[in-house]
């Protein structure tokens, strides 16, 4: 990676203190994000996948400083964000914005569409004149496929897909470079989901946007991402270019995820084997590799030693048995 990355994340930890059970609660630590490192290059789409509880939402919020990082570093164009005071963070928010999962919940029900989309402009570009702001809002609305006539309407008057367009317009109105999309299509209907994905792809092509696209759906991520990062219990399992990942997943967890995606064709319907162990508690992670309790390849080494993320054929995998899969 000779080109400097737009976003560099190094050994990021996000821990939450949790009260244990019982009358005399012990203080436990929930390691929602545990030693996560990755780069995001300008103009690419990094997909982040994992099951619920893998820390993908926490990660997207920590990148935007909506949740404080416990340790580690997040650099946007070389500027360290984790130690930045609130006031100094504000101008940087112009460069990174977020799209949320639940389109209706992320819009204030008491505000009109125009007010919602103008809000980041008011906060981040307070010097902008009213007329100019209004024009910018209208223009952005058109760009995400909203009618200008809808500017005075309220969120509850929109369907889920339309509401998500409002959320996208709000993120894009300040012309950010990086947009963190936290499951932006998970709550949408099938026919609407594809409209929004196409819209995100179009906007990226037109404005050279960079996305971090968080999702639990591997089929959707394959469609939009250039590279994919697989998270499990707050740890990175694999980071690989899209085509390589879907053609030949190296990590056994990636393989498990891929094999579980139901294919909409009865001729290809797969019957999964007997039930496997479910996710361990994030408060009591297994020793060594976090995935070993569900892994078919697990052996004594996986119990004893935590695998580090290492490079194999230009891909990054955290598994002791990755060579066997690569061969």
């Amino acid at each position: 990676m000779s080109e400097p990355a737009l976003l560099e994340v190094r050994a990021l930890d996000v821990h939450f203190p949790v009260r244990g059970p019982g009358l005399l609660p012990s203080r436990l630590t929930l390691r929602a994000i545990d030693q996560v490192s990755f780069d995001v290059r300008a103009g690419e789409v990094l997909g982040v996948v994992g099951e619920s509880g893998c820390g993908k939402s926490t990660l997207s919020r920590a990148l935007l400083k909506l949740i404080p990082a416990t340790a580690g570093s997040v650099r946007l164009r070389g500027v360290e964000l984790t130690t930045l005071p609130k006031a100094a963070m504000r101008p940087l928010r112009r460069s990174m914005q977020m799209i949320f999962q639940d389109p209706l919940a992320s819009l204030d029900p008491r505000m009109t569409v125009g007010e919602i989309i103008a809000e980041p402009l008011k906060a981040l570009l307070p010097g902008m004149e009213r007329a100019e702001r209004e024009q910018r809002v209208l223009r952005t609305m058109q760009h995400v496929g909203l009618l200008p006539a809808q500017i005075n309407r309220y969120p509850h008057e929109f369907s889920g897909g339309q509401a998500q367009r409002i959320g996208i317009a709000r993120a894009l109105v300040v012309q950010p470079q990086l947009v963190v999309c936290d499951e932006p299509v998970s709550a949408l209907d099938v026919s609407i989901k594809s409209q929004i994905i196409n819209l995100l792809l179009d906007l990226r092509a037109e404005h050279g946007l960079t996305y971090i696209f968080v999702a639990h759906d591997l089929a959707t991520v394959r469609h939009i991402a250039d590279r994919v990062m697989v998270l499990y219990l707050g740890r990175v399992m694999e980071i690989t270019d899209r085509d390589a990942l879907y053609a030949r997943p190296l990590h056994p967890y990636t393989r498990l995820l891929l094999s579980a995606v139901p294919i909409p064709d009865p001729a290809l319907a797969r019957r999964v084997g007997p039930t496997r162990e479910e996710l361990p508690s994030p408060l009591a992670l297994p020793s060594g590799c976090a995935f070993r309790t569900r892994c078919p390849l697990a052996d004594a080494r996986c119990v004893a030693e935590r695998p580090v993320l290492r490079e194999i054929d230009g891909r990054y995998v955290a598994c002791h048995h990755a060579e066997a899969a690569a061969a």
Binding site: S159, S191, N198, R271
Partner: protein, 330 residues
């Protein structure tokens, strides 16, 4: 397999709201056969959930159901509450998307399960407990005896759904209605639950209705599929026919807009343009017409009837030409 267990005729579900009536389900005719898995697929507002809530007598209080629903030849729609409660536990059961809301957080799982047997079967607590342990084991929950004394929040999402399925099957119902049973679950857990439902169907011969928006889930399990749009049945077919030789533009749109792992990646996803239908309006023509690439003047004016295309394949569409890319150009 030919005997029909549940027969729905002319079912209509309507809600009165402050802004006027909302027509959630219209003119629905269908049958569920003994031992089959009937998939019902549709997006939000398609009426797929309301149909089964109406049959279970669980509609919201501003909802009304009309028509006829017969279970084993006996009319069950709009039964009085008492009769319905008896029927619900004993002959048909329903599980929901979020098992947590269907459980009482203050009672142990064991208490909630044994209650069903004590009430419906008049069993003693001890007898019921033994049966419940057996039921939990049949849905592959380890340490069933200990699990019975745990509370719902101590279970993971997938485990809770297993408990719900076990509870639903305690009274050996003939019909199990699953409303988006795996939507809230991770893919790996979803695959396990689907496998479990398949196993139970084979073991107990329970007919299953699988209501979902996910065509992938339907393909794993269903024998027959009904596609719903705007409260109407638009297509009905045996599962291989529906996925291989669908005859309705909406089915086509749904199938094409799903990103799939088994096919090469395309630059853009196919979409269905436009928005979901407004159920407060009842257009004279086909409800899908505003979003349909094949629509003609006839579609705007006249509701297409549900007609048979032979071999248990029904559809409601005026368009006669070929579907698919060729059809669109024609």
């Amino acid at each position: 397999m030919t005997a029909s267990l549940l027969e729905i005729r002319n079912l209509a579900v309507r809600f009165t709201t402050g802004d006027g009536p909302v027509y959630a389900v219209n003119d629905l005719d269908l049958q569920v056969r003994r031992g089959e898995v009937l998939g019902m697929v549709g997006e939000s507002g398609s009426g797929k959930s309301q149909t089964w809530l109406a049959i279970m007598g669980l509609l919201a209080k501003n909802g009304r159901a009309e028509g006829s629903v017969r279970l084993g030849g006996e009319e069950i729609l709009n039964l009085p509450q008492r009769a319905l409660t008896r029927l619900r536990g004993a002959r048909m059961a329903m599980i929901f998307q979020d098992p947590m809301t269907a459980m009482n957080p203050f009672l142990t799982v064991g208490r909630q399960m044994t209650e069903v047997l004590e009430w419906h079967r008049g069993m003693s607590r001890r007898e019921a407990r033994a049966r419940c342990i057996g039921a939990l084991e049949s849905v592959h929950i380890a340490d069933a005896a200990q699990r019975l004394s745990m509370y719902p929040h101590e279970f993971s999402g997938g485990m809770r759904q297993r408990v719900m399925i076990a509870t639903a099957l305690l009274t050996e119902p003939q019909l199990l209605i699953c409303d988006e049973p795996t939507t809230a679950l991770d893919v790996t857990v979803q695959a396990q639950i689907l496998a479990l439902l398949d196993e139970l169907r084979q073991r107990f011969g329970t007919a299953i209705v699988l209501v979902t928006h996910d065509l992938g889930v339907i393909a794993q399990l269903a024998d027959r599929v009904i596609v719903m749009y705007a409260g109407r049945q638009v297509e009905q077919a045996e599962v291989h026919t529906l996925y291989g030789a669908y005859r309705h533009p909406y089915t086509e749109g749904l199938l094409r807009s799903v990103p799939r792992l088994d096919q090469p990646r395309s630059a853009r996803l196919a979409t269905i343009p436009g928005r979901p239908p407004d159920l407060a309006r009842r257009p004279a023509g086909c409800p899908f017409e505003p979003r349909c690439a094949y629509a003609s003047e006839l579609c705007r004016q006249q509701m297409p009837p549900l007609v048979s295309l032979g071999e248990a394949h029904l559809r409601a569409c005026h368009y006669d030409g070929a579907l698919g890319p060729q059809g669109r150009e024609a």
